[in-house]
């Protein structure tokens, strides 16, 4: 108890220095809490960008379909798959799609693109097509309605009500087929590539256009728990992987994004490591200054029988108390700051990363481990930083220390 009291009081011999060191450690903790929260928020936005925009959290396709969107690679028994998904409690929604690589022409211009034939109701539970429709109206099931991306509409120089001709090759026969549509809505997902090259029509119009009686190319899935999509041993996906049908989560569908997300996690660790090194240098400096000021006292302490180990313990105890104090402030400030940005977000402007639009505010994520694990790291590292000064103090030779003070 006396040792604890001595260590605590020693901290406040030079209150200003202690508070400055404390602020340094506190700042590091706050920054690492915020950086981790931002990284989690960014990952969340990126994953959301992939899974909620159009792709879904998982997809069922014929093997090889996603490579070139070959129209012949359709799912031959979509009803069985749909039934399995509809009765699976883990699945929140699924949407069948026909995907046609086609020529899209207006009276003024022509462009190539992918036309998605979708079921308007099912799509509501998987993608955010309806939310992205900023002009006109969402698909209602009427045969000739088409939704165009904002940039495609600009390229084709069309607006609501204008005519669009879709030209595609039919499945199996490869016969060229054409169909007339009228622009009923314009959408904007954000990523340039999507807004320039995608168009949506009703599934009921797409299937006859392609000669695909009842068949679809893809079924997109949304889970009740988004984490299920990352589970490679999830029965929902395993059971659907049969023969030439593959059911993959978004991490397998977009491996490059998975890599990026992994890199983002390392970024937190790198920022943390740099901060901890800088903080450690500050702590070492502060502890050395404190020891140099008390060199006579350490000499006396050793003279009266304090062992080197007891001196090391005292210095480490001082560092431990300093870290505890810093962590108390750090947890409080970190929580307040992180909670504020969790509610209000950090303005990030508008940027696109790997086809994912990061738009508007980045919302940090507050997690309990940030206020347990990080303070433990900070405390351990502060104490570790004090080991060298503590060993120095323990090696002070009493006779020299006493002479120096005189």
């Amino acid at each position: 108890m006396l040792s604890l009291k001595l260590a605590w009081r020693n901290l406040f011999r030079n209150t200003r220095r202690t508070l400055l060191t404390c602020m340094l450690v506190t700042s590091s903790l706050v920054v690492i809490i915020l950086v981790d929260g931002i990284m989690l928020g960014m990952i969340d936005v990126m994953v959301g960008g992939i899974t909620k925009t159009l792709e879904g959290e998982a997809q069922v396709n014929r093997k090889g379909f996603r490579e070139n969107f070959e129209p012949e690679l359709f799912l031959s028994d979509p009803d069985t798959i749909s039934l399995a998904l509809a009765t699976d409690a883990r699945v929140a929604g699924h949407a069948p799609r026909v995907i046609i690589g086609s020529m899209i022409a207006s009276p003024f211009n022509t462009t190539g693109g992918l036309v998605y034939g979708v079921d308007a109701n099912s799509e509501l539970g998987v993608s955010r097509l309806k939310e992205a429709t900023y002009e006109g109206s969402y698909l209602s099931g009427v045969k000739r309605e088409i939704l165009l991306g904002k940039l495609m509409a600009e390229l084709l120089e069309v607006s609501l009500g204008d005519r669009i001709i879709i030209t595609a090759a039919q499945v199996d026969t490869s016969e060229i087929t054409q169909e007339l549509f009228r622009v009923t809505g314009l959408f904007e997902f954000g990523p340039e590539e999507m807004d320039q090259s995608l168009a949506f029509i009703n599934l009921s119009a797409a299937q006859p256009l392609m000669g695909m009686n009842g068949h679809v190319h893809q079924i997109a899935i949304r889970f009740v728990d988004p984490e299920d999509a990352k589970n490679k041993s999830l029965p929902t996906l395993i059971n659907l992987n049969k023969g030439d049908v593959e059911a993959l989560g978004w991490l397998d569908l977009q491996p490059s994004i998975g890599g990026m997300i992994e890199m983002s996690s390392y970024a937190s660790a790198i920022v943390g490591a740099v901060l901890f090194v800088l903080t450690s240098l500050g702590v070492i400096n502060s502890m050395f200054m404190s020891i140099y000021e008390r060199i006579y006292e350490f000499g006396v302490a050793k003279a009266i029988g304090t062992t080197p180990r007891q001196i090391i313990t005292l210095v480490l105890l001082e560092a431990f108390l300093l870290a505890l104090m810093a962590c108390a402030f750090g947890i409080l400030i970190g929580y307040l700051a992180s909670s504020y940005f969790e509610s209000n977000g950090i303005s990030m402007g508008r940027m696109e990363m790997s086809g994912v639009l990061l738009d508007g505010n980045m919302y940090t994520q507050v997690r309990p481990y940030q206020f347990v694990t990080f303070p433990i790291y900070v405390t351990l590292l502060t104490v570790a930083a004090a080991i060298y000064p503590a060993i120095f103090a323990s090696r002070i030779v009493p006779s020299r220390a006493l002479q120096r003070a005189l």
Binding site: L2, R9, F12, K302, G305, T307
Partner: protein
């Protein structure tokens, strides 16, 4: 009376080559249990060096120091720390109290190092404060005490561990003469009451008059060793 301190042919030199100074040259002496001994001599005569060597704070370049028959040269650092803690009490010129601890806590600290129980520590602190005449001032920090009071606390701390020997390096140097004499009288009383061995250095004539024995050092050599009637 048994011999508690014995030095044999002690040599201590500082510096190297042409700048080398011999602080102690072949000093041999012995001090018996319960003696109240003053090491006297002018500044630079080697008083502090001799006390530091006796206390195991410094290592000699030659010769031996035997405390209660044990040669401290053969001890490891840890053994020497433990020996100092349990057998030697130190009083230094500049009070040497821990400024952030109260007088009571300063006295208690050394007992904490010894592993004395909390109850016994408290009891012994009260006893020591009473012995040095500082009852009621135990909760004050060093800065709230006068120089004389601080040095009394240092005496109490030195005695709290129940050492065999108390070594005091010019304990009155920073005190006015009245306070210095009063402190010496306190040490003298404790020596008489507890039969504790006191060895202190001084160059103050009034202080040395209170010693039983005077060891005169000059240029690192014992010039005279006189025992007086108290």
């Amino acid at each position: 009376m048994k011999t508690v301190i014995e030095t044999k042919d002690l040599v201590r030199k500082f510096g190297e080559a042409e700048t080398q100074v011999t602080a102690l040259s072949h000093v041999s002496t012995s001090i018996k249990e319960g003696e109240f001994t003053a090491i006297i001599g002018p500044s630079g005569s080697g008083k502090t060096t001799l006390l530091q060597l006796i206390g195991g704070l410094d290592e000699p370049d030659g010769g031996d120091v035997l405390l209660s028959g044990t040669n401290i040269a053969n001890m490891s650092g840890k053994q020497l720390s433990d020996f100092r803690r349990d057998h030697i009490g130190f009083i230094f010129q500049s009070y040497n109290l821990i400024p952030v601890l109260s007088a009571e806590e300063n006295i208690e600290y050394i007992m904490l190092l010894q592993g004395v129980s909390a109850a016994e520590r408290k009891a012994r602190v009260r006893e020591m404060l009473a012995l040095v005449g500082l009852e009621g001032l135990g909760d004050r920090r060093p800065a709230q005490l006068s120089g004389g009071q601080q040095q009394r606390v240092a005496v109490a701390r030195a005695m709290a561990s129940k050492p065999d020997i108390i070594l005091a390096d010019e304990p009155t140097a920073n005190l006015d003469s009245t306070t210095g004499i009063a402190l010496l009288d306190t040490m003298r009383d404790l020596n008489a009451q507890l039969n504790m061995t006191f060895v202190f250095s001084t160059h103050d004539q009034k202080i040395m008059d209170r010693a039983d024995r005077l060891i005169h050092l000059e240029d690192g050599v014992i010039q005279l060793d006189e025992t007086r009637q108290s």
